[in-house]
């Protein structure tokens, strides 16, 4: 025997002043299931948002011109669950936690040697093509070998003095996620 539809009038006539189609539109054919869905979906969405996205506020000028001081973005926290960070990815890097982080671009991958010569980045001795770098740079940095779990990160704005720019080697476990543009 098929289950009785709660919205169907028992005697075949709908005596409610609200049209049946409107009731179905608002509360569905099965109000109990609609109620459960209404309770479960917001919780799932909230949890999904909390564990996958992080809204961040950008401070500073070292990612200019790609990321402006004061702008807001989202960090995808599950971006690296199934794949490893790639060269060119812009990532957020935690300090002790996620309330204060760095925003940098990956230029060196584990095991590589990174150097700066007259503003050009050398990876294992070869010049790295960096289309995102628009500002002039004259940095020089001796070659640094990265460990098996280390990345080399730097900002896009290398027109500022290197001693005022926060960059360098960092461990994989400090990566919080990838910026969504």
């Amino acid at each position: 025997m098929p289950a009785q539809n709660p919205v169907q009038p028992l005697n075949g006539r709908d005596r409610s002043p609200v049209p049946r189609w409107l009731r179905i539109l608002v509360i569905g054919r099965n109000p109990k299931a609609t109620l459960i869905r209404a309770a479960v979906w917001p919780v799932l969405l909230l949890l999904g948002y909390h564990f996958t996205l992080l809204r961040i506020h950008v401070e500073g000028i070292s990612m200019l011109p790609t990321y402006q001081d004061g702008s807001k973005y989202f960090v995808n926290r599950i971006a690296y669950l199934w794949r490893e960070p790639q060269r060119g990815d812009v990532i957020s890097i935690r300090m002790a936690g996620i309330h204060e982080m760095y925003l940098k671009r990956i230029i060196g991958l584990p095991g590589e040697t990174v150097a700066f010569v007259n503003g050009r980045v050398l990876i294992n001795g070869e010049v790295l093509d960096e289309p995102y770098e628009k500002l002039p740079c004259d940095w020089n940095l001796p070659p640094e070998k990265l460990g098996p779990d280390q990345y080399f990160v730097v900002g896009d704005n290398r027109s500022m003095p290197s001693q005022d720019h926060y960059f360098g080697k960092m461990d994989r476990d400090r990566i919080v996620g990838k910026i969504i543009r």
Binding site: E59, D69, V75, E100, Y166, F167
Partner: protein
């Protein structure tokens, strides 16, 4: 149905018991978090502090540290200094309170690892200091080593952590709960 009130009473008693247990025998991590929160409050001050209050606060701050504490501040190109012992900490705290018109210290992120023997612990934390009248705050990751003594959990060693290999002291404005510094 007769047993429902007894069951509710029993559940309430169990919850109360667990709550009391947590309050009366806090874990080392909880104690350390509380101490760090108190330290941040004690280290913060506003203008108009009298000499006696200043001295008392400096003594209070020193009380959070072990007598033979070592504080290594090493921010390449900016600051490189080591404080040794409580007296130096107290003098430094007094100096800061005499020089600045106000300071607000917070630890927005704290990770605590307690040693298996529960006699020592390491707190990796982000320090944020806002100097009164300054536009930017100072943000730095640090590592505090705690040791359990007869006087409770005391800080035996403090060192700066280099988040990125070239990290220098970070000056920034805090305008949102989650900030990324570029």
């Amino acid at each position: 149905m007769k047993n429902v009130p007894s069951f509710i009473l029993l559940a309430a008693l169990a919850v109360l018991g667990v709550w009391l247990w947590f309050v009366l025998s806090p874990s080392p991590e909880r104690i350390i978090r509380q101490r760090l929160a108190k330290l941040a409050r004690t280290a913060s001050f506003s203008s108009g502090e009298g000499n006696l209050a200043r001295l008392a606060a400096a003594e209070d701050i020193a009380g959070y540290f072990a007598t033979n504490v070592e504080v290594d501040i090493n921010v390449p190109g900016r600051i490189q200094h080591t404080f040794t012992g409580r007296d130096e900490i107290q003098q430094a705290a007094l100096g800061v309170r005499s020089t600045l018109s106000g300071l607000k210290v917070t630890f927005p992120d704290i990770n605590i690892t307690v040693a298996p023997d529960k006699q020592s612990a390491v707190a990796d934390l982000t320090v944020e200091a806002v100097v009164a009248g300054e536009r930017d705050s100072i943000v730095q990751e640090m590592k505090f080593t705690f040791r359990k003594t007869d006087d409770g959990w005391l800080i035996s060693h403090v060192e700066t952590v280099r988040t990125l290999s070239s990290t220098t002291l970070r000056f920034a404005q805090r305008r949102a709960p989650f900030i990324v510094y570029t």
